[in-house]
Symmetry: D2
């Protein structure tokens, strides 16, 4: 393998820069030339491709975001667009491509391999932790800690009036962020897309806590469930509590990547190059059982990741 | 002065616990007995008054919130209610009262003094920094840093799509938090209650940045201006940008108090006891010119605090 | 199981409070009475045992340290001392004991079981991550992130003079903290007890980086290797670099527990009660393969935990 | 004023980057061309001067360190060296120079003005806060908060053994950092260069706290007093306490600048350009009485900054 390229695609995830660094540094240590592709597949099409030097990799290990940027290119679904884009790889004799992103990005990579023979490896990067084949996606741990910090600040409230705080957190259609911030943050309630809930039950639990003398509660609401504002509206008439809604929003996508995110980003990054050197392709890397594993890249969208029921039940048990 | 009491009232402000500690520790070092009143004036009425011991003060210097809690008691406007409440002070021979809170809390203190002779000192605690007579209120600096951290996370966004982020911050009717987070956070735009603005001008500035090649901008919106969501709605048709709104909400009220907040809380706390020992009353303490100052307590609501025009203009200049 | 007790022993580890909360809350939810033992085995001997209430568990989930405190009691090696101590459990009809700490603490627990039939479960809590039977000990992730934050601050140095920073981190005789902070922090060099090193080789690598134009480097030194100050002294004559030594010290033992630490503390805590309810005893809980596992409690000291060689080599590869 | 240059000199101070940004952005908004000089006076001599563009200023507002770097050039004391260096300014028609650093750096600037007519403005940047003419130097507030975070972590210690923690902090010959971290961090003892102390008195206070049942104490030691390790050695035989020494070291020089540091850096930065535009020279800017002030640049080294005695006494009073 003489020349490889890296791109980041999909939503921001803290740790993407760390992964780029690991792919590039490891490859350079093996004498491989590394190209960075700006703005995901859009940049590939637009020939925004440049050779990476060690200087580009300095000071990014602990920086949120990705210096290669991301972009959406719906047209990449079109085989002609892909054929155009891949010319920009071929003309530089780029044989391998590492894609850091979500399962949407993996689709595009898989097609580049099947249609044009570019060897591709996918590294799962998304704060939502909703990619099958890995216990952790790059970005999840950092975001979890951002949410926990927000919960701690909200819990500092010193009002003696009865309050229910609904905190809406990201996750797309996955409840992981909500579940683990509830478990680790001592949340009192938890609404995740994987589990049905009823407003009346929720109201009943809240009122029960009021009767037991607990003044405040914190309910984690995964965005996949719906708007926390709407849920608060529905609760209003039914609970002895003032409602306060916090939608954490985009602060969840940024910030210095955590230790765990940097560790998995680094290990996955180096491993992607090892796999390319072995001539492998069409694989995604994951962390399972605290070890690096690989799956066919389609595993990311073909399999569904399940929520850990035991952890869910524990969160509810400790919440009441 | 043999016995004094402390209460916290109004909205949460990080540093309130630090102030309580300073008042109490300093008073105890002078042989004064110190009572804590739970839940502000509501607790005073309810006789939720207890003697503070050094043990109560351990481990609170860096804790957000206030362990004495706060509460609203609209009935305190009623002189009979105040007369009832003050009995609970008199029966313990409490001669002095330190009130940590906003100007609303100072009103109640002032009346206790005028009607019942309890010597009162007000310490300004609110994240909004909207109390006249002091450059800084306890809580402002911590909240400023929370907002700056949020801005940094939002600026990590790696999308190459044009985006305008509106960040709605607290402040009631004051623009201080928005102004100084804009100045210190490199915000591109700033909407504060003290200054009129037009949606069209705002849209024009945003489009101008797009033309200059600047992909993203961050606009600070003080809550006193209105809802950032509504402003985003109005901008939608007029700008080449996707709008993203973040309402930081209640994370702005909690968290470990910053160094500056702890310094002014400590100095003001100790000074309140000095003033009581000197037989002073009906005063509020402030930090002006980096020194402790006192004003008649009514100064807090009789005078209006002005925004620093030079700082405002500098924020706009550096934003474009 | 009607009555259980909890104690924390050994060195501080962030997340101990979270574990106590989980053990107690989960047990209370099953109708079990929970006792807290202050000051480890010293407190057990001294009858510093008290019933825990929900109130004790409020506000501790995100607090560093342990409110039950720890202490050393070398005398606990003496069977008569153990017999005395256990009387304080027996008189309260305490049948189960959860010990949160390191392998030294597990020894004592094991003997209480073998000699007196108290059912014991050990939860591994130590920042050093040196307990066999678990991928992570409670406290390790938090401390890793504290070290990474220190590395980031040190790397901000703007001096253009050639500098080598040696950062001495904790770990007792394990190199985990040094290894993973090197890997995740982009360290240039790494000295761990598990691997021999030579001062001359280290000097050679440092000088090589100077020749390649790299101004500064950061070397992680596990405390089990020796004093970073002494290593710096030995390097002085051999390298083109000013040496700067930072011994992080006790800031590594405190602070808000991270998300991961709180998750494993919570899951292990609840599981310890499940095991006791099942009549199990003499076991330690671990996290292996991202799942809860149990081992005979002696596994903690009978087995030796190995460093991950692949991760070690990756750290060296990416460091040069 | 058509062309100005900026350099940073002396020790690192968080907020230097923010100051550079403000000088440059403000100047550019007035149509002034701005040059950056790398590596302080060494870079000026070496002609490491380049025109700054807006791109250079993006993303640095919240970055520790200074991207212009610093360096020591003892030779700058030599007028011939200065004459050589200033040629590199003259050939670019640079008329104004903003120097961000400590009083040492101001000396050099003053001489450039007196000997060669370059208009110079000094902005005080140092974590030590030891420059006369300003209440705050850029970097002090950030470092204060770093120390406070370290104190909080150390105070989390859960050992029930008697311990005295000595924390050695920076400050050169000033006690400000030690004083204000003691005041805001609830330190029990304080050793600063401005005040004599005796080991026996210190030992007596420590033993007194032991008798009063206080298990742990934290003593802040300013580096200008001496080595905390040596003080610990002297205390060993005299106190009922295990000694633990933490030398915070270089983590105190880095990190994201705080809100206050960014505000003063930004205001001072813009003001330096205003002064140059007004034809002023040979001045240093300070923050006094919460307002920008100017002094002859020599004020920085001719006047001695005094410690605030009242704050010192308050720190002692609240520490016991």
């Amino acid at each position: 393998m003489k020349n490889i390229a890296i791109l980041t695609s999909g939503g921001d995830a803290p740790g993407m820069n760390t992964a780029i660094r690991a792919v590039a540094k490891y490859a350079m240590s093996k004498g491989i030339t590394v190209y960075g592709i700006k703005r995901g597949y859009a940049g590939m099409l637009n020939d925004e491709i440049f050779e990476l030097t060690p200087k580009d990799l300095g000071g990014i290990i602990d920086r949120g975001g990705t210096f290669l940027l991301t972009a959406r290119l719906p047209e990449f679904k079109n085989p002609e667009v892909r054929a155009e884009a891949v010319k920009n790889l071929k003309k530089r004799e780029i044989e391998g491509l590492v894609v850091i992103g979500g399962d949407g990005s993996f689709h595009g990579a898989d097609l580049l391999y099947k249609e044009h023979g570019i060897k591709v490896i996918g590294i799962p990067g998304t704060i939502d932790n909703d990619i099958a084949g890995t216990d952790y996606t790059i970005g999840f741990d950092t975001t979890l800690n951002i949410i926990l910090d927000a919960i701690s600040k909200i819990r500092d409230t010193a009002t003696s009036h009865e309050r229910t705080y609904l905190i809406e957190v990201m996750g797309r259609n996955a409840g992981d962020l909500a579940l683990y911030s509830c478990l680790a943050g001592g949340g009192d309630g938890l609404l995740i897309p994987e589990k049905e809930f009823s407003i009346d039950d929720l109201a009943m639990q809240i009122n029960k806590r009021r009767e037991q003398g607990k003044l405040h509660d914190v309910i984690l609401v995964a965005e996949g469930v719906g708007s926390a504002f709407e849920i608060a509206e529905k609760l209003k008439g039914k609970v002895k509590s003032e409602m306060r809604v916090t939608v954490l929003g985009h602060i969840q996508r940024g910030g210095t990547p955590s230790g765990l995110d940097r560790i998995i980003a680094t290990k996955m990054g180096a491993h992607s190059v090892e796999l390319l050197e072995e001539g492998k392709s069409g694989l995604m890397i994951g962390i399972e059982s605290n070890k690096l594993v690989t799956y066919p890249i389609s595993h990311a969208w073909e399999s569904k990741k399940e929520i850990d029921i035991k952890d869910y039940e524990l969160a509810l048990t400790l919440g009441h």
